[in-house]
Symmetry: C2
Subunit: 444 residues, 2 copies
């Protein structure tokens, strides 16, 4: 549906036509349409939407649009929307809004929900508890399939998913899971206990959300149960939320690996000053570290005064060292993120990188030696560059492998040990090695 | 369950105890247990597993383990496992296995399935068709809820998901979707046509799998319908497969961005020679480009013979330029991957990067000027470095912004325009600018 068409229908007050047209639009696509309407039109269109579609469309909006809309809605209208939202979306909303909007939201929420919201708000940021929702189908193990289906019909409409149902005892301890497929294809008299799977994969409320995404990646589930320390079921995380978490975590890793302070807002939504602020800190740290390399160079002034050609190879040696280091660190960081590499794999990884670096170093040294012999006919220089490259590659790959694992060991995010930091460190060592080898071989 | 325990139970032939113990293990965790058993034990344990668990466990194995196991299984055992696999897993299996194993697999598949497999094998790699499965629940719009439930019971057991059901006409054209929740909470006499949603989000068989993951990210679905060019429903992609695709695509992006040829095998599974091969190509390309920077430096031999201190600032200028460039390119590449930045945003992005680079450049220039004035009391040098930094940062951010967008424009993967390539390009320009400014201001 085109924005122009909507504007026309709103102007000519053809609200019923508009309502029918909007039914054909997916709720997730409504926010993009609203973006091009003016304030009056937005609220008019939003009032035309059926309750369910309005709630869904609202949950897909960005915080800025949500805030503006809430300020324009009456308390009753807001209440209707909040009724449609799942608890995790309501909690996210409250976390994103400024305090005056939060007050308006809490006014529109009923007492019982307010209690649940307060509990959910207390889970640490990025924990499983903070992304779970409390609307799920709970069954008893003594129920028959027929009773279970009735229970699903009774509470299913308010549940985020009915695909996985959870079997609890009277203390709300999780005994097993059963999925709707098994319930539907079983006889009405079958007892749930005989259907449920007891090899439950569950997460704790305080587990990191990254652990949650790893479980979704490993086990092909649509939802995972979240339990408290007493193994009582308190919520579920659905796979659609896990996908959003994966994308957020990946973006954060990309940013950290490019020496940017992580930022949850989108690229265009972030102001120029915020962008500059997110980038300047690491640039300053890395710039000052680079002056160490500069300091080393000044120590060898005499060497390059005698053989000025030595300076010409600095960019190539530093560049190759940096690239080799970031290749290794990227593979290790990614391996740690996907659980393919574990902390105690350190010697295995180091041994692998060592062998790779010998092969890569020798090939690079030979290619360079040929180039230097042809261009400068200087075999001493070919030797210097060759040895320097082999040493630099080996060192770069060892650092690229070790530093992310060390970070992990000390419970830091391995992603900060990525290209920029490793490049700067490798620079220092490679320049030192270069001039040491050069002065030794060339007798400077 | 511990491997030692399994070995003991196998040795003492307590197969029934073992079978009961294994029931408590999630199928996805079985392959890890098998890894530490020897060949004889693996096949023994696998024969103990119930049919369904054996099939599930098999689908979670890595290609190497699958191949070994298939060679040890009888044709009848293999047939049992293939019966348990969904069509997409069978097709993946055939694509991964060497030709002699493929022959054994095709022998165990019935005629009808073989036809479907051949069709699925013809979709291009990484297309929606290549990751979809053909087992889904299809309904007619004239069915009542009661008839629909019966249909689900009849074919649901073989469907990968019954959560989303698809309403087709007699030509198998997709008319709408209805989810099990709506069916269950509706009256038995309700007609499906009145329940189904017609604002369908579907994908074409030839769409790229990355597009599929974007749809899962945007619309919170558990499954997406895949249609052919005539809008006939031919399969579905489930969200668990989408998560695997997301992780694979992200790993590929990380590798490309670190100048590594993408590799689908895991870090430890890849041989040392393969690792070296994946890394050497880009290293050689980047190394040879770095010699251009070296060539420029030799042109200014006289300049640094007169002011040797100039050489000491080369690492800092090159490093800062590279870091600024990779900050920008990473943000743009990630924005393109998540659809937040579009091709026609090029001027908007460039304008943003321009303003960020002015702020960042000036701050870096000031910090350096202070450092130089204190350390060397040389205001000319402070000016040279300051101007060079500002120019380098602006250029680096412009290139970091433009090159990924250009790559996208020419249908190349933006990820290849990441840090290493941009760093090398920025190096060339920054050294050129540096010595131009130095010779101009210092009158060299």
């Amino acid at each position: 549906m085109e924005v122009e068409e909507i504007k026309k229908l709103l102007e000519s007050k053809k609200y019923n036509v508009l309502k029918e047209e909007l039914k054909k639009v997916n709720s997730a696509d409504i926010p993009a349409l609203l973006e091009d309407l003016d304030k009056e039109e937005v609220i008019k269109l939003f009032r035309i939407l059926p309750k369910e579609q309005a709630g869904e469309a609202f949950s897909y909006m960005d915080p800025y649009m949500k805030e503006k809309l809430i300020q324009d809605l009456t308390d009753a209208e807001l209440k209707n929307i909040l009724d449609e939202l799942f608890m995790d979306d309501t909690v996210d909303l409250i976390e994103e809004m400024p305090s005056n909007v939060v007050k308006k939201i809490l006014r529109a929420v009923n007492k019982q929900d307010r209690k649940v919201i307060n509990e959910l708000l207390q889970y640490p940021e990025d924990s499983a508890g903070s992304i779970m929702t409390t609307e799920f189908v709970d069954l008893k193990e003594t129920m028959t399939v027929e009773q279970a289906l009735q229970r699903i019909r009774d509470i299913g409409i308010d549940s985020e998913t009915i695909y996985n149902c959870y079997v609890l005892n009277s203390n709300r301890i999780l005994l097993g899971t059963v999925n709707i497929k098994e319930i539907l294809i079983s006889k009405p008299t079958t007892i749930i206990k005989n259907l449920m799977a007891t090899n439950i994969i569950s997460i704790n409320t305080t587990d990191d959300q990254e652990e949650v995404t790893k479980l979704f990646d490993k086990y092909d589930y649509f939802a995972l149960p979240v339990v408290d320390n007493e193994n009582r079921l308190v919520g579920i995380v659905t796979v659609d939320d896990a996908i959003n978490v994966i994308q957020d975590e990946v973006s954060e890793d990309f940013e950290k690996m490019a020496a940017i302070s992580p930022n949850e807002e989108g690229y265009f939504k972030t102001s120029v000053f915020k962008h500059a602020k997110n980038r300047i800190l690491w640039l300053l740290i890395l710039m000052l570290s680079a002056t160490i390399t500069g300091g080393i160079i000044t120590k060898y002034e005499e060497a390059f005064a005698t053989v000025p050609l030595l300076v010409a190879f600095i960019p190539m040696i530093m560049g190759t060292g940096g690239n080799c280091g970031s290749q290794s660190s990227t593979l290790i960081i990614r391996g740690l993120a996907t659980d393919e590499i574990k902390l105690n794999d350190v010697f295995r990884a180091l041994w692998k990188e060592f062998r790779v670096s010998v092969i890569v170093g020798i090939i690079l040294a030979i290619v360079n030696a040929i180039r230097i012999l042809i261009l400068y006919k200087n075999s001493q220089l070919a030797l210097v560059i060759g040895f320097t490259l082999i040493a630099t590659v080996m060192l770069a790959k060892a650092l690229g492998c070790l530093l992310p694992l060390l970070a992990k060991r000390f419970k830091l995010d391995p992603a900060i040990m990525a290209s920029p930091l490793i490049t700067t460190l490798v620079d220092i060592f490679s320049i030192l090695v270069y001039f040491q080898i050069a002065t030794a071989i060339m007798g400077l």
